[in-house]
């Protein structure tokens, strides 16, 4: 039986992992390579790295770090941040990424999804969406959740699948950093319109939030979180033990949990 994936997300700036709360204010947490190895050893099913540096130097440093991570751990790596062209896909795939996450780059140029899917396969293209409720609508935001695009997020995701996205990450701005649970209503609305895997993001505060997510929406494929893992509030091994107790299929590591 396919297992539910637990995915820590690491925002990397100037070679360090940082995490914003509601996208504002960052706290230096740890070294990307050390943190990646720790997560891999303790049962993370996949890792997401977001490059939140904008400078050329920062980007080069990010690629070096990515290579080091990909030579140290052997689980799937998704990379996002600053992906605007097929050349950007090429750059991070050559450093060991398995999947590439597009967000603002796809909003600016929706053809990017199709172009990249044709070259690298659908499985390589992850459509990442920052979504917030505006006037009773699930609205798509760009630029790290700062700019309201006016686009209906559900329709955007439906089109994204048709264009060739292989997975979708749904990040609720409304619940991000609040730690009161995933945005079940938003995630259900997305799940209803796509057949590709959906990764839930934004709002996890405790182990019970993941149990609620997978119990309430059994077709949900994965749960993504950052700070609760980075600060040790939730240990992935404890989380997986609890999910298994609740009858939710998870991957266990031999000799670890």
């Amino acid at each position: 039986m396919i297992t539910k994936r637990i995915i820590p997300c690491l925002d990397v700036k100037n070679g360090r992992v940082v995490k914003g709360v509601n996208f504002q204010g960052v706290a230096d947490v740890s070294s990307p390579v050390e943190l990646a190895k720790y997560y891999s050893d303790n049962g993370a099913d996949e890792l997401v790295f977001y490059d939140i540096t904008a400078s050329f130097e920062g980007r080069a440093l990010f690629c070096d770090i990515l290579k080091e991570v990909a030579s140290t751990i052997y689980i799937p790596l998704t990379v996002g941040g600053g992906i605007n062209t097929v050349a950007d896909f090429d750059r991070v795939l050559k450093c060991g990424a398995d999947k590439v996450s597009v967000n603002s780059g796809a909003i600016a140029n929706p053809d990017l999804i199709e172009e990249a899917a044709k070259i690298y396969g659908n499985q390589c293209v992850v459509l990442s969406c920052d979504i917030k409720r505006v006037d009773g609508q699930f609205r798509l935001f760009a630029k790290g959740g700062r700019v309201d695009t006016g686009i209906d997020a559900i329709e955007w995701i439906r089109q994204g699948e048709a264009r060739g996205a292989g997975e979708v990450v749904v990040n609720s701005i409304d619940t991000d950093g609040v730690k009161k649970g995933f945005d079940i209503e938003m995630l259900q609305a997305v799940s209803d319109v796509v057949t590709i895997p959906v990764i839930a993001s934004g709002g996890a505060g405790c182990i019970g939030d993941f149990v609620d997510l997978f119990k309430t929406i059994p077709t949900m494929d994965a749960g993504l979180a950052a700070s609760i893992f980075h600060f040790g509030e939730v240990k992935i091994s404890d989380l997986k033990d609890k999910l298994a107790d609740e009858g939710i299929p998870v991957r266990k590591i031999k000799g670890k949990n």
Partner: protein
């Protein structure tokens, strides 16, 4: 030395570095002489079957793989590289494979309910056929241990060659072998410690 066939298909960064990690010498190559000198061959692959088959033939590696495996050299095909070992694939038309494993590559969609996601992406458990001894490829790998899959097609009609399956509503082919030829539908280089054990088993054959 292990020759990893370089034919411009897929991401081989992790595959190359995983052999470094387990202490086996591996080179990425499309040079027939290097492949002939190698002890073993890895055929990686991600993407569409027809395109990959054409690239493999265009770079001359198709014939080299056939002659080297006929001479008894161990070969491991991974993901699309495993599918290429089969006689035929039905991905976007019907295309010939290397014919090293009897059977055909067919879509998953018709054998799973409509609410099952395609591609089959994620970590899923390995099941070893009860009526066969466990393959040496899976030494130190336990029944039910999870490995990482990403695929929309699977090997069918290959019962005699199946050495592991995985349950996705149906039991899908997870790994095959026939003589010195092995294939895994999953990515051992992305399957954590379990995957490294499998690559080590192959390296030590």
């Amino acid at each position: 030395m292990i020759a990893i066939i370089d034919y411009g298909v897929g991401n081989i960064f992790s595959l190359c570095s995983s052999f470094d990690t387990i202490g086996a010498k591996a080179v990425l190559t499309a040079d027939a002489n290097v492949v002939r000198k190698a002890d073993k061959i890895i055929l990686p692959g991600v993407g569409a079957f027809a395109d990959a088959a054409k690239k493999l033939a265009d770079c001359g590696m198709w014939d080299v793989i056939l002659s080297e495996t006929a001479a008894g050299k161990p070969l491991l095909g991974i993901c699309l590289g495993m599918q290429m070992l089969f006689e035929k694939s039905h991905e976007y038309g019907v295309h010939n494979g290397l014919g090293l494993i009897p059977g055909e590559v067919v879509p998953i969609a018709p054998v799973v309910p409509a609410d099952y996601k395609i591609p089959h992406i994620g970590w899923n458990g390995l099941h070893f056929p009860k009526d066969k001894p466990k393959s040496p490829l899976f030494k130190d790998v336990d029944e039910g241990e999870c490995v990482y899959f990403v695929h929309s097609y699977y090997g069918s009609g290959c019962d005699a060659a199946v050495i592991a399956t995985t349950e996705y509503h149906a039991e899908l082919t997870a790994a095959v072998s026939k003589g010195n030829v092995y294939g895994t539908q999953f990515h051992p280089e992305k399957s954590g410690d379990v995957g490294l054990r499998i690559l080590k088993n192959f390296a030590q054959m």
